[in-house]
Subunit: 325 residues, 2 copies
């Protein structure tokens, strides 16, 4: 028995219904290419829009079929970045955290698919309005930026909405998915596949400092928190309604719940945060992973992760249906 | 094809791996009995411990095999209530929100199974220490009281912990589960079954005012919020770390985020809240349901809900494994 070929796998010509999240800073070209080479689809993290970094990452992807993702409200400040990136012929462009309207025509004209990541039903309606090819329903379990809906009820609610209003639109589940159990559960909830962040953040190819990789192995799923303090410390003006899930550590212990005080101290805290981040300090800065940390016990090659998630999902389905295990 | 007979179904002699949550006020004897009669297991909501109400509800259960659930920190204030209730020979007693140690011996001596509902890994360790027969991993999507872990990653993390430390302990998933997709997903994540609150709150037999039942049908999954304001308004001293998910309405709009002001105004707000609750006002009081609201479109008999959830789960599994649908 193998996983049924989902529409997602047909549209993107994949062997596994798994995309990597376009994680800012961590999701570079090597990770995206490794995911694609293994039979999934890797997305380079466009992040806050550093053109030189993006050029470098597309070069590292070395011609492999990959996509790219942007923080939409940030892309709006430097829209030429999209034009530059589309020259690399990404398979898909994912837009998260903001109005997708200004960008979809240019993405389509370049022959790339439009993926919209959504955190609530309002976002889903926006994504349907722009006729997104793929919607990612991202639950609050996810690492990094997101919002408050839980994956378990959000995914089937989006599936119902799409079946009524946009039946051709594909659906990915994200948030709290790190192994084949999560992939199998996502398929049950009505998704065509999954987008994995935290599990692939903990891949060897991710651009993550060893100190931060070490931290995830010591953290269970209780050990993260949704907060705005990392954005305050980095002086990145995120719109209201979004928070970032990061590791609970000395930094969150000190500042979470004391946002106004952090704002007041930001002239000293900003350089301190950035220095600690660059050094891979696990305590004195944001360490960017989600509740799936409790399911992750090794830093592994991305290809091993992608293929195992897929084969584990098959075994989960077999067990539940009395097939061989 | 039918659902595989899970260990849960064997232990409790069930046709469907579905328990009803022992919802305070809403989960009375009629609902619990209807769930049990349909082949699941119904739990009467012991709530804050009104002995006369509990006697009445056991009478309404009319001899059907049911269980009962308590808010553990509240039960500690009137432990004789447990002794009274055990005379009705409940199949199981569920303990949530507090230290289970003071109660497990008495429950076992009465021949009832011990169910511990957990919101984080610390709770799970406590439940394993008292050798709970069943652990409920409750995600933040759930209506009413709970905490912050999401169902999607919490359930498999608990499953891993149990497989290492207490392989005989059964596992239920709760939070955001309202249909067969959720049950099938829970089985994939490693659960033996599900505990459903919100979906059975929206059953005809639930003790819910028509105005509140009407409200859930008009609310999507974005329309709830985790907050402490209902407990402040009711002057119920919940321990730190727990919040309650209720409908977003005029009451939450006014007070959520203004907890200190509500505390100051509580002499007038407490009677106002209780009056609006008793009247079934959908706006001026807590309306107690979770994110699964977005999956619920009718108030139905509990038996229809339980049997449909089970048959839908079978169809989900069949679709994914290429069986007949």
């Amino acid at each position: 028995m193998t996983l049924p070929t989902t529409r997602l796998m047909q549209v993107f010509d994949l062997r596994h219904p798994v995309l990597s999240a376009p994680m800012a800073f961590a999701g570079g070209g090597a990770l995206a290419a490794a995911v694609s080479r293994a039979g999934g689809l890797g997305l380079i993290g466009g992040g806050y829009g550093d053109p030189a970094w993006l050029e470098e990452q597309f070069a590292l992807a070395d011609g492999e079929r990959v996509g790219v993702g942007f923080i939409t409200w940030s892309l709006r400040k430097s829209p030429a970045l999209l034009t530059d990136v589309l020259r690399h012929r990404p398979v898909a462009v994912m837009l998260s955290f903001g109005d997708p309207r200004p960008f979809v025509d240019e993405i389509r004209a370049a022959g790339a698919r439009v993926i919209c990541q959504c955190q609530d039903m309002g976002h889903v309606m926006d994504a349907v309005e722009v006729r997104a090819d793929v919607i990612v329903a991202q639950g609050a379990e996810a690492g990094g930026h997101g919002a408050s809906r839980g994956t378990m009820s959000f995914v089937p609610e989006v599936a119902d909405h799409l079946s009524r209003h946009a039946p051709e639109t594909l659906l990915l589940a994200a948030g709290g998915i790190a192994d084949g159990r999560g992939l199998a559960a996502a398929l049950m909830l009505g998704a065509d596949g999954v987008l994995m962040g935290t599990r692939l953040w903990a891949a060897r190819e991710a651009l993550v400092q060893p100190g931060h990789h070490g931290a995830i192995l010591e953290t269970d799923g209780d050990g993260t928190v949704r907060t705005t303090i990392a954005d305050i410390a980095r002086q990145i003006p995120w719109p209201r309604g979004f928070t970032a899930r990061i590791r609970r550590n000395a930094f969150t212990e000190r500042w979470h719940g004391r946002e106004a005080a952090l704002q007041t101290a930001v002239a000293t805290e900003a350089p301190r945060y950035r220095q600690a981040f660059a050094a891979g300090d696990p305590e004195q800065t944001g360490v960017w992973f989600g509740e799936a940390a409790g399911l992750i016990h090794a830093i592994e090659p991305a290809a091993d992760i992608v293929t195992r998630v897929s084969s584990e999902a098959v075994r989960c389905l077999e067990r539940a249906t009395g097939g061989r295990s």
